[in-house]
Amino acid sequence: MNVLGVVVNGRSTSVQRGSTVADLISQLTLSMQMVVVEYNGDPLSRDEFSSTVLGAGDAIEIAQMVGGG
């Protein structure tokens, strides 16, 4: 299989084997500048997005800053 399953924001998602976090962000039509990513419970810095290759079952949280008090 060239495809593997990851969980993004609680939802099962398929990505191409070998995809990075940056690829995932593109696939979701998001912009890297606008989001923060937690990868299996740990935050990634932006320069790790391109170097972090996804594995089957990875848990990805894509978050952003919103209004808050």
């Binding site: 924001n9 989001v35 740990d42 990634l44 949280e61 952003q64 800053m65 808050g68 008090g69």
Partner: protein
């Protein structure tokens, strides 16, 4: 004669911190932030809605003007607060965090145990930590001892607008604190903010009262004036309070009785 607020080694010209939640639009938020003359604004961290992504709030805030203080709202435990803090830092924001750990969805009161735990870990992790707390003087002291850069006691339940309901406890916190005291939550009108400053608070944080005012920009300006008024009065040395009256006009009595 300068009167800057110093938190975590950084100086702020304004003693009003603005929350960015609940505004009618990003434009309304930006306008209110500008009108308030604040130098620190709070933001939250939330999952992107993958079906309807939108701009992050930070796209509408000039980071050269405002320190962006992320909060850990949404966290119900210390672990969750730590995760959110670290995630916020990964966005390239300065490592400042407003710690909120709130288990109760109705009154949104913070958990003292988990808040202290989260602060200890985040201080160790290099954060400048500002915990949001119930107005508990001993907890405030313990957080200070744990390395908190400031303490943020609530005036009243968040968003209630009821003013300084916890005044008696906040007064003790202010008297005992060696870090800045930021009165947070529940301030509904500028007079509440002014009263907090007159008591000796170092700053206030306001969100709902501005964001949900009919004219949020004008309300932001009003709060800015109120905070300055209260601070200035605190420094000017309040006249004592009396039970009886004291004439402001001379009490030498009337002119002579007529009828010679």
């Amino acid at each position: 004669m300068s009167d800057e607020l110093i938190i975590g080694g950084r100086a702020f010209g304004s003693r009003l911190i603005l929350g960015t939640g609940k505004f009618a639009s990003n434009e309304a938020m930006s306008a209110a932030v500008a009108a308030s003359e604040t130098e620190m604004v709070t933001v939250a961290v939330r999952r992107v809605d993958l079906d309807a992504p939108s701009d992050p709030i930070t796209a509408h805030l000039d980071r050269s003007k405002y320190l962006i203080l992320a909060n850990t709202s949404g966290a119900a435990t210390a672990d969750e607060a730590v995760r959110l803090a670290r995630l916020a830092r990964s966005a390239g924001l300065p490592p400042w965090i407003k710690v909120e750990v709130i288990p109760d969805p109705r009154y949104l009161m913070p958990d003292p145990i988990e808040t202290l735990r989260a602060c200890e870990r985040l201080v160790a992790d290099g954060f400048v930590v500002l915990p949001y707390i119930h107005a508990d003087p001993v907890l405030a002291k313990r957080l200070e001892e744990a390395g908190a850069a400031a303490v943020m006691p609530l005036a009243a339940p968040i968003g209630s607008g009821r003013g300084l309901k916890m005044a008696a406890a906040i007064a003790i916190i202010i008297e005992q604190a060696t870090v800045p005291v930021v009165v947070d939550a529940g301030l509904g009108v500028p007079s509440h903010a002014a009263a907090a400053m007159e008591m000796g608070a170092d700053a206030v944080l306001v969100n709902t009262a501005i964001a949900t005012a009919t004219d949020s920009e004008a309300m932001a300006r009003a709060f800015a004036l109120g905070v300055r008024a209260g601070r200035m009065a605190y420094r000017a040395g309040r006249a004592p309070e009396y039970t009886a009256a004291s004439a402001s006009s001379p009490l030498t009595g009337f002119l002579a009785p007529i009828g010679h």
